[in-house]
């Protein structure tokens, strides 16, 4: 990889919050980007500029502000689509990745009553939906609920002791009854990057659709929907330097057109009569109501920001951090990494347990030192059960993190061991 090295100091200067202190004036060491990322000034400025100069309801007015707002919104769509290699009209804005996944799941159950035109998407008893044991609740519960609404059956891939997807029963799990396979691109707990292409090939061979949860991949590595070879990709703005309140569903145009709407209301209609309505074409069909245009503009600015640095460079930087972290955290006595200890096909989330100390207590000691990590099951409860852990402590990295941040983490874990009296020395 010829990626440039990141100039972390310069990058950090773009993120106002990273200059603040926490708990008795300690500098903030933010290792919780897996939950949400911080935002550079450029993104906040873009959003504010929209509000202060161009704010109006998009697609609903003929005056100059409405034109400017609509233009900004659709430009943002084009920028964000290009960020994942998609045509603009295949990108639907939602409030977060969770809504994006629910959109597909509800379109599939709505298809049952939405008329002939949409019958192709319908699922029912005898049909199967496949997920994995490493899914975030956002890519698990909506499918449980789809099955409950329709009578379809939920099945899932297990995970290996090493924290990889267990594909040994791929051909059994994904079969002619399978309607959709929904899996994460990168686990938010294990860091594991899944072999999406391989699974998609099997799924397509048996006529199943593939939805990829890109909430943890799109922010951290170059992602191209064509290369992935899947049908849907969901991700969130707030995890990729963008604003809260915006998420993205990319779907193949042909499929989006075959899907009935999810949320209904203004701006997604063809015609409306008291007793029936018809639908606009995608993406509008899935964007009912006044949309989050300022957030779209902010997210586009985030894409520009990331592009200027280069997603290759971001990925390489995180790879270096995770390699360093696996080595230094992993070699601490009494610390167990939950997830692959091999940095290949692995992103920047490092979850671990510390013998004799509950993750809440580890997190508390870290927090006391200004190191912000996440503790708990990270919305992946079944995965934690699989590894016999009630909870873990998770450090997650992003482009603004440095090797010194990892050192602070390691020091903090040692301190927790000392404080709770579980350290050998």
């Amino acid at each position: 990889m010829t990626a440039r090295e990141l100039d972390v100091e310069t990058i950090r200067a773009d993120f106002p919050i990273l200059a603040r202190t926490v708990r008795d004036e300690r500098p903030l060491v933010y290792l919780d980007s897996g939950a949400t990322s911080q935002k550079p000034r450029q993104v906040l400025d873009a959003e504010r500029e929209f509000y202060e100069r161009h704010n109006a309801a998009v697609h609903r007015g003929a005056h100059q502000l409405a034109e400017e707002a609509t233009d900004a919104y659709e430009q943002a769509r084009a920028t964000i689509a290009a960020f994942v290699g998609a045509p603009a009209d295949e990108v639907v804005f939602t409030k977060n990745a969770t809504e994006a996944i629910n959109l597909v799941a509800y379109a599939m159950s709505n298809a049952a009553t939405a008329g002939e035109e949409f019958a192709r998407m319908a699922v029912g008893p005898g049909d199967e939906v496949v997920v994995t044991e490493m899914e975030h609740h956002a890519n698990l519960v909506p499918w449980q609920e789809l099955c409950r609404r329709t009578g379809a059956t939920l099945r899932w891939f297990g995970v290996t002791d090493e924290g990889r997807l267990d594909l040994s029963n791929l051909d059994d799990l994904v079969n002619e009854r399978t309607r959709i396979v929904a899996l994460t691109h990168q686990s938010n707990v294990l860091g594991t990057v899944n072999p999406v292409r391989q699974i998609a090939e099997r799924a397509h061979a048996v006529g199943a659709l593939v939805l990829v949860d890109g909430a943890q991949s799109v922010p951290h590595m170059p992602v191209d929907v064509t290369e992935l070879g899947v049908d849907f990709l969901a991700f969130s703005g707030h995890k990729m330097c963008g604003p809260n309140g915006i998420g993205v569903l990319w779907g193949r145009g042909e499929l989006l057109r075959a899907m009935p709407p999810f949320i209904t209301g203004g701006s997604m209609i063809g015609t409306v009569h008291m007793d029936h309505s018809t639908w606009a074409d995608p993406p509008q069909r899935f964007e009912a109501g006044v949309p989050m245009a300022p957030q779209a503009v902010g997210l586009a600015a985030a894409c520009d920001y990331l592009n200027a640095i280069g997603m290759d460079a971001v990925a390489a930087h995180e790879h270096a951090l995770v390699e360093y972290a696996l080595k230094h955290v992993g070699s601490l006595e009494g610390v167990r990494i939950v997830g692959p200890t091999d940095p290949e096909a692995r992103g920047g989330a490092v979850s671990f347990t510390v013998d004799g100390i509950h993750p809440h207590d580890v997190g508390q000691v870290l927090d006391d030192r200004g190191v912000a990590v996440r503790v708990g099951h990270h919305c992946a409860w079944p995965l934690h059960r699989r590894y016999g852990a009630v909870a873990t402590t998770r450090a997650s990295f992003y482009l603004y993190n440095s090797f010194a941040d990892v050192d602070a983490l390691v020091e903090g874990i040692r301190e927790a061991q000392r404080f709770f009296g579980v350290a050998r020395s």
Partner: protein, 158 residues
């Protein structure tokens, strides 16, 4: 004032005295288009005919329409019928393409007056994205109806 740039005399003339308006027989295909943001509608019929020499080239023999809408959409329908009736389908499609390109040019298009004739008057409209749909409404309906008609002709030919 910019109003004059949008509402050229030619447009206002066609709006006040639309050409070829009213639905007529005979026709091969009909289409109904609606602009969902404002409710404007057009119902449009096309009649295609084989050229006199019996060769393949089809001609736009008639376009008739009924419509409800703003000055831009009405004028545009009227100008379109003037332009397309009598042309071969291929020529007409080329005009459609040129007109669509002009409308999507955001005021920066350099319209080919040789191809577009009176329709060059719509250049000013392209600066107003919300009105571009108005200008294109009848054209899209014509394209739709023509495609339908061609499909039927083909079936007939088999």
């Amino acid at each position: 004032m910019k109003l004059d740039a949008m509402y050229q005399e030619i447009i206002l003339d066609h709006y006040r005295n639309p050409h070829h308006k009213g639905l007529r027989e005979p026709f091969d295909a009909e289409s109904h288009h609606i602009n969902p943001t404002c409710g404007d509608e057009v119902t449009l019929r096309v009649l295609l005919e084989s050229a006199e020499d019996g060769k393949d080239a089809l001609t736009v023999a008639d376009i008739s329409y009924d419509s409800m809408g703003c000055s831009i959409s009405q004028a545009s329908a009227s100008v379109m019928t003037d332009l397309l009736i009598g042309k071969t389908v291929d020529e007409a499609m080329a005009v459609l393409e040129e007109f669509t390109a002009l409308m999507q040019s955001k005021g920066k298009g350099e319209p080919d007056e040789g191809v577009l004739e009176d329709a060059v008057a719509f250049a000013g409209v392209s600066k107003y994205p919300a009105r571009v749909k108005c200008a294109l409404l009848a054209w899209m309906a014509w394209k739709d109806a023509t495609v339908k008609s061609l499909a039927t002709q083909k079936e007939g030919a088999v």
